[in-house]
């Protein structure tokens, strides 16, 4: 077994009463001393929550062919990006299944930055470097040098502005800026995984503790993995290993909106495109839906979903949503059950009635 990694903020998490668990190869806090619910509430109720998400990976893509390369390896249309814009996207295998979901940051025509999932980092980098051989482009894994923080919630901008060397008001939704942050430099994007207004902050490890301490002093509440998962599940955001994996394509996962089968000027097809087109034409074997329990209970991952008494699929992410006032879940069901039939979730042997709904499960406050 390989040793677990620590982020530069490990000691800070322990000092704050963080309950440390192994996660994606790192030792990270699942919650701090006041518990996940209070952390969740702080983010939803107008505070600013601070998250150490340094485990996520960063890859720099540079070179004359950067755009052509990214059009080939990612699903979304990278030509639509302007400098300083972020795009949600994915890396697919030739089979059309997910290698990872990512965000693409366009610095300029010949320089991009990808944010990838921790658990997929080595697989992603190997894949990107292999494919890069056919292009005039370099792929550099900068994950080990980079600390990534998220600051989410209504008070995020005011707190972050105290250390940002540029006006955050000018950074729009899914936009980013580079410049001075505290005593060094970095990238700030108006992105996140909570459904609240907020930012993700890429800085060198050398100033991780400095930035963390300043933001805590500004009133930011430290948020662990459990509350982070509650916040993302309430938004219905996909998580690798749950809604998406190497066994599903964008057709099943309701992610055709980031999968552009016609990328305009881009000649040829991105990796996995043919398989996605085939799957789309033939029809998926299962499809992702959002559901809310009518009966009492918490629909948890892997619980079976039935339609008219017939086994149809299973829950991929589920929770008790304080704001929705009950159990909510994302689940895969058979395509014919996406809109029709009486839905139930099996909880400890009992069929609990549920209804189809849409995501987000609760109101999103992102600033579009």
């Amino acid at each position: 077994m390989t040793d677990l990694l620590k982020t530069p903020l490990f000691d800070a998490h322990v000092a704050l009463g963080g309950k440390i668990v192994p996660f994606a190869g790192y030792e990270l806090p699942v919650q701090y001393k006041d518990g996940a619910l209070k952390e969740y509430t702080a983010v939803r109720d107008g505070e600013a929550g601070i998250f150490d998400i340094t485990h996520m990976g960063q890859v720099r893509v540079e070179g004359k062919d950067a755009l052509a390369f990214l059009q080939y390896v990612t699903t979304n249309d990278v030509s639509k990006l302007v400098d300083g814009q972020v795009q949600y996207s994915a890396l697919l295998s030739e089979q059309g299944t997910f290698i990872d979901d990512i965000t693409t940051y366009k610095i300029n025509d010949e320089a991009y930055y990808l944010c990838i999932n921790a658990a997929n980092r080595h697989k992603d980098v190997a894949h990107l470097q292999k494919e890069a051989a056919k292009f005039d482009v370099s792929v550099t894994d900068e994950s080990d040098e980079t600390t990534l923080l998220a600051l989410q919630g209504a008070k995020a901008q005011a707190a972050l502005q105290t250390i940002a060397g540029f006006d955050l008001e000018t950074v729009g939704y899914y936009k980013f800026a580079r410049g001075k942050i505290a005593s060094a430099g970095g990238i700030i994007s108006r992105t996140g995984y909570t459904g609240e207004d907020g930012f993700e902050i890429y800085i060198p490890n050398s100033i991780a503790v400095e930035v963390w301490d300043v933001l805590l002093a500004q009133g930011a509440v430290p948020i662990g993995l459990a509350a982070r998962d509650m916040l993302r599940t309430e938004m219905g955001y996909a998580l690798y290993g749950h809604e998406i994996s190497d066994a599903v394509t964008p057709v099943e996962a309701k992610l055709m909106w980031i999968t552009k089968l016609d990328k305009g000027d881009f000649i040829g097809k991105f990796i996995g495109q043919e398989a996605v087109e085939t799957r789309k034409a033939e029809g998926a074997q299962k499809r992702l839906i959002a559901l809310k329990l009518i009966g009492r209970g918490i629909p948890r991952e892997h619980y079976k979903v039935f339609v008219d008494g017939e086994l149809s699929g299973e829950v991929t992410s589920g929770m008790h949503s304080p704001l929705a006032g009950g159990g909510v879940a994302l689940a895969y069901v058979k395509p014919e059950h996406v809109t029709d039939g009486n839905l139930t979730v099996e909880i400890r042997g009992k069929q609990i009635e549920a209804e189809r709904t849409t995501t987000p499960f609760v109101r999103s406050n992102v600033r579009k």
């Binding site: 619910l37 009492r296 209970g297 918490i298």
Partner: protein, 126 residues
């Protein structure tokens, strides 16, 4: 960690308060602390007979699902319905408002493995 002196405890961190032929069940301060924020409690039906050591309900925190086990055998005579809307009472007041059920103790309760408070404190220290 609070361990009231008027209760008896089990190795699964349940407590029981015995008053005459009635027993009240709940989970200990240690148990609620270990589980974290409790968001759901599944209660048995009144009238159900439960053996000592039998799972009679479920307590769910944000991340975990845990069975709760009966410290003594009995028939359920009352359930704490308040927990259906305020599951967090198990966290905030585990020995008081966070009680889970009351049973009428069966005659066939053999000498069970209940710990007294000092034994439970030693058990927690192990």
């Amino acid at each position: 960690m609070s361990v009231p002196t008027d209760l008896r405890y089990t190795k699964e961190h349940e407590w029981v308060r015995i008053e005459g032929d009635t027993a009240t069940f709940g989970i200990s301060d240690h148990a609620q602390e270990a589980l974290g924020d409790i968001v759901f409690v599944e209660l048995p039906e009144v009238g159900r007979s439960i053996d000592a050591g039998e799972a009679y309900g479920v307590v769910e925190s944000v991340k975990a699902v845990s069975d709760v086990y009966a410290p003594v055998a009995g028939e359920v005579i009352e359930i704490n319905e308040t927990l259906e809307s305020e599951a967090d009472l198990v966290n905030s007041d585990p020995y008081g408002a966070g009680w889970i059920i009351k049973v009428k103790i069966s005659d066939n309760n053999a000498d069970t493995d209940l710990m007294n408070p000092s034994e439970y404190e030693s058990f927690l220290d192990e």
